[in-house]
Point group: C2
């Protein structure tokens, strides 16, 4: 059996978020809770990978929530001080061992390596680590 | 402006997949295309984070597809040799700069740190890097 869970992995940002949101405490908890439109700025070294992104695409953007805490294993969901402490794998708290953000967005504009997307709750400067199309029904992939 | 996209990030596996799938070439492309049930084996150091996972939970499991190629930026979607070469950010190819797998699953059983889940297309030994609940409508989170 592989003991692959022991070794660290080198995750490399492929771009970053440009957003009017700058304070994590002010950011909406999810993109559909009033988050602003934002830009994904892809690094020039990943131009080929981003080449086929187009207006109207429904994407899942993966970010590295670099302002989150990695040493938190239990939390009160949605910051509710009356909620029971809950293991973070059962919550969407940004504070978790690997604070990867998942954001479902739609492409509003493409300007070279700058991709404008709808409702993104990540703050300005957040590293982008992957971009994927959302999956439709089998057969449309 | 932060130049955060320049620096590497240390992603730490929190567990691994135990699955009858061992050959990536034989694995289904998506979990709903005939993938078998599998176990997530959480490392003991993350027991608190996993504490509230329960049978019936609908989860998104994030894995590190450690058998994928990171130097691929364009691919033929779904391995179709007649498809046009497409930038990987517009595909779900496992070969991509940061090969993070997203898997939507349901919890079938919980046995301590072993979590059995439905239809997972990752092969045996694949590192698990995060586990999140799938989001329901706003207000049910």
């Amino acid at each position: 059996m592989r003991a692959s869970s022991a070794s660290a992995i080198d995750l490399r940002p492929v771009g970053r978020v440009e957003s009017p949101l700058t304070d994590p405490a002010q950011a909406p908890r999810q993109g559909d809770e009033g988050a602003p439109d934002a830009w994904l700025v892809v690094d020039a070294g990943y131009a080929e990978a981003a080449h086929d992104l187009a207006v109207g695409d429904e994407l899942v953007v993966l970010t590295w929530l670099d302002r989150a805490r990695r040493d938190v294993q239990v939390t009160q969901p949605r910051g509710d001080p009356f909620a029971p402490l809950t293991g973070v794998f059962a919550t969407r708290s940004p504070d978790r061992p690997n604070p990867i953000g998942l954001h479902e967005v739609r492409v509003l504009a493409v300007d070279g390596l700058r991709i404008q997307v709808s409702g993104l709750e990540a703050v300005d400067g957040t590293p982008v680590v992957d971009i994927k199309p959302r999956l439709g029904p089998v057969g449309e992939r």
